[in-house]
């Protein structure tokens, strides 16, 4: 396996954090949360340019915030709302 960069390690740690946090939820909700999280990570792994550090760091911060919310015992579930993706412009 190739050596991971610091950024990649952070992403994997965040993913692990989400999966750990999901364990504390009700079994049905847990499945849903895991599906949402897994879908998002895999999609971004495929779609996001690996050199677009600004965006990856932005996603990491956003993910950390969402994880913080998910960890709260008051949070029982997670939902996603489909947003039409804006026309993507190529890098200038």
């Amino acid at each position: 396996m190739k050596r991971l960069t610091g950024l990649q390690k952070q992403v994997l740690a965040l993913y692990g954090g989400f999966l750990r946090a999901a364990r504390a939820k009700a079994p049905e909700e847990r499945k849903k949360i895991e599906a949402i999280v897994s879908e998002e990570f895999h999609r971004n792994a495929k779609e996001v340019d690996r050199k677009n550090f600004i965006y990856i760091e932005y996603l990491l911060r956003r993910g950390a915030k969402q994880l913080h919310q998910l960890k709260s015992p008051n949070t029982i579930s997670m939902f996603t709302v489909p947003v039409p993706s804006p026309p993507s412009k190529p890098l200038p």
């Binding site: 996001v48 340019d49 677009n52 600004i54 965006y55 932005y58 996603l59 911060r61 915030k65 993706s85 804006p86 026309p87 993507s88 412009k89 190529p90 890098l91 200038p92």
Partner: protein, 295 residues
Amino acid sequence: MATTNLLRRTITRYSNSLRHHQIRLYASETPNENLKTFSIYRWNPDNSSKPQLQDYQVDLKNCGPMVLDALIKIKNEIDPTLTFRRSCREGICGSCAMNIDGCNGLACLTKIETDDMKTASMITPLPHMFVIKDLVVDMTQFYNQYKSIEPWLKRKTEGSETGKEILQSKKDRAKLDGMYECILCACCTTSCPSYWWNPEKYLGPAALLHAHRTLILCKVVTHTLEPEIIPSPPFLYWWISDSRDEYTTERLDAINDEFKLYRCHTILNCARACPKGLNPGKQIQAIKTKEMMSA
């Protein structure tokens, strides 16, 4: 007599409105003189473009005098995707803090630069903060630092009468002047070079100003309870010597840290940046004095 007066007033009013009309006519013939360019920082995480400055031209004739007025006009009439925080538009909510022509300030309290109409006004997010979108920055860290100083009243004992509010005298209230006005807009903290270096460890001017406010607040409250035993020496002296102070020592110990407090090197950018005219640097000096005297 009365009729003459009335007539004179009517004439004046009429000629005034006439003059106004002429000016307006003149202005509409040469609109370019009122066009001001704003270069605004744009970054949208949802499309993969890099951050850039985008120019917008605003006719100041049809726009309010403040930078926020121009931003709202741009969002309403030119580009609805421009994103920024705003709420009260009168400098009390602290939402519209941003960097305007190189200085941190509230857009609603900063006048549009009209002396030099040819140069563009540059508007960027607060420096050294993570951007969420365009001019909106992530304030999580800032708020967490504010939370860490526990900016609320803490008491070990009950008040003299349970359930009764603890009143404050005018004199005690006056001691909070220069601190209670803070609206937590983060202009000072994000202008501090020391904070740019150590944003995780140094609390920053805003949080420290509130730390000092809470210190004095605690003092004032206990003081109000038993006014007959207030010692007469200067404020600082009794502040430290007074054993009725309930969490002062704990609070002082909590921020007595090489990084949390002592990363302030009295650069005083905070005082220059504060849109409310406060001086956080002075309050930090006061905390340092108290730390020294309590040691």
